[in-house]
């Protein structure tokens, strides 16, 4: 792939994205609700596309393709179980939205603080989710770095890809907050879908002889990839450990959980979630199909995460599809990363920064201190060049499981206790960290143990809490 073509595609992407971001900035009044929640006035279609672009990251076209390549159909089950996890957004969403609107909350941490009547709950929540999300955000940059390095055959160095991604993130988050992030997200969601559809059709129809031939080839050449445990990668324990954190993704990940505060009313929220469910189902099928295609075309890859870039490089795929896909993957990574950075800065601002700072100053803090600092942290983490995109993504989600009982309990618990919430989050996070560090306390059942311990501690501490401590 010619380096000039790559730069041209990136320049077009940057130009269109920035034009979108600037176009929606006009008329936007500077306030916290405007900056972080787009004034609760996003059109449902933009909100749904933005939700899709935020959820689906570089993980899909790189990590999920690689995971299918490595483990087969289990990757489809894992991703569709994630999609069904929108159940939690459907369950918690209305109550969370109502509480947020009633109290004028901007961050999920603020809602939790109010529900538990203790600001420390929001602070601890903010610290825990930030700690686990920085590696996940760095994975997005890693994806862009690898992709450009492989496709340019090393002429665009890995750090250059990281710096490019950082520029887009800083620019599009600071222009108009969620309003510009959502507008660029919607554009990027369109690019992600259209580019992956173009690639999968070319791979299956042109390179593999059509869908019937493709199904037949996979069934006869790689039959063990069509069942679980199949080739041995997806044992039940691995499958559960990978999928359980993602089943709770819609509430455990604050960048998507916060989006439930955005709709103007529940009707808009319903349309947003419905739109996303359709988008997610189609996008998942496309990426898994691509993984099977890569398996047939590139049987001896050492690093499955590089299946998509290698496919683009090694086969006579038209340049416009290649460039479109490259921009699609960059879009997926940037749209996830900028939403996370925006959400984390709202958590720092509302749940960690001392109260009493005027709104205008808070906004300046967000734009010129928190967002650049978070970007730097993510950049330095990404410089470590971790090879395991899928693994890093999932292990970040493992830590975020620790906040799930606190969130569900805030809206459905009979006896809400701030002590229960704090202990549950802290012990759950510590257990996740220990397990990520290699300590196998529960025999390798990482995700069930984090969720089990956090839930158990929440429930038992809640039982021991003194009565007469009702939430507001």
């Amino acid at each position: 792939m010619s380096e000039q073509y790559l730069w041209l595609a990136i320049a077009l992407y940057a130009g269109w994205g920035s034009a979108f971001a600037l176009a929606v900035r006009r008329g936007a009044r500077l306030s916290l609700i405007e900056y972080f929640l787009a004034g609760r006035k996003l059109h449902w279609l933009i909100a749904a596309l933005s939700y899709g672009a935020t959820t689906y990251s570089a993980f899909m076209m790189l990590g999920l393709v690689g995971l299918t390549y490595r483990g087969g159909v289990g990757a489809l089950g894992f991703e569709l179980i994630y999609l069904s996890g929108l159940f939690w957004a459907v369950l918690v969403g209305p109550k969370f939205w109502e509480a947020g609107k009633r109290h004028g909350c901007v961050s999920p941490g603020e809602v939790l603080s109010l529900e538990y009547r203790n600001p420390l709950v929001g602070t601890v929540y903010a610290l825990i989710v930030s700690g686990f999300l920085i590696p996940y955000t760095s994975v997005q940059l890693t994806g862009i770095g690898y992709l450009l390095e492989v496709l340019s055959r090393g002429t665009i160095g890995y750090p250059v890809g990281l710096l490019l991604a950082l520029c887009f993130i800083i620019l599009w988050t600071t222009i108009a907050g969620l309003r510009s992030v959502a507008a660029t997200d919607a554009l990027q969601a369109g690019i992600m879908m259209a580019s992956s559809v173009a690639l999968v059709f070319f791979v299956v129809v042109r390179l593999l002889g059509g869908f019937s031939a493709f199904f037949h080839t996979v069934e006869t050449t790689y039959p063990r990839w069509l069942s679980v445990p199949g080739n041995g990668f997806f044992t039940f324990r691995t499958f559960l450990n990978l999928s359980l954190p993602w089943f709770f993704f819609s509430i455990s990940n604050p960048q998507v959980f916060q989006r439930l505060l955005v709709p103007a009313n529940l009707g808009e929220m319903r349309k947003t979630i419905t739109g996303f469910l359709g988008y997610g189902f189609v996008y998942t099928l496309i990426t898994v199909t691509l993984g099977f295609g890569a398996l047939v075309l590139l049987p001896d890859l050492k690093n499955p995460d590089l299946a998509t870039p290698t496919l683009l490089l090694e086969f006579p795929i038209p340049s416009w599809i290649v460039l479109f896909v490259v921009v699609g993957i960059i879009s997926a990574a940037v749209s996830t990363a900028d939403s996370i950075i925006l959400t984390l800065s709202s958590l720092f601002l509302q749940d960690i920064l001392p109260k009493g700072v005027p709104e205008r100053k808070r906004l300046l803090f967000a734009q010129f201190l928190f967002i650049p600092l978070l970007c730097l942290a993510v950049f330095f983490f990404a410089l470590g060049r971790f090879n395991l995109i899928a693994l890093l993504s999932v292990t970040s989600s493992l830590g975020l499981l620790s906040v799930v009982p606190t969130i569900v309990g805030a809206f459905f618990g009979r006896r809400k206790s701030d002590r229960a919430a704090l202990l549950s989050m802290i012990l759950g996070a510590v257990l996740a960290l220990l397990q990520l560090g290699g300590v196998r306390i529960f025999g390798g059942w990482t995700a069930p143990s984090v969720l089990g311990v956090a839930s158990g501690v929440y429930f038992l501490t809640g039982l021991l809490a003194p009565r007469g401590h009702p939430p507001q």
Partner: protein
């Protein structure tokens, strides 16, 4: 509805590792997980219809 949905999720974990573990064709776990996802989406749409402010 909630019970039906959660039962469906349990089946999505169990069936591919038991009944379908020897079916090494697209008509096995691949088809099953697709049907699971479509049913899950339909149930979620039904639950959301009951939302009121």
């Amino acid at each position: 509805m909630f019970v039906v949905f959660l039962s469906l999720v349990v089946l999505a974990y169990l069936l591919p590792f038991t009944v379908l573990s020897q079916v090494q064709r697209f008509s096995g776990s691949f088809l099953f997980w697709n049907i699971f996802a479509i049913l899950a989406i339909l149930i979620l749409l039904r639950i959301m219809r009951s939302w009121h402010e």
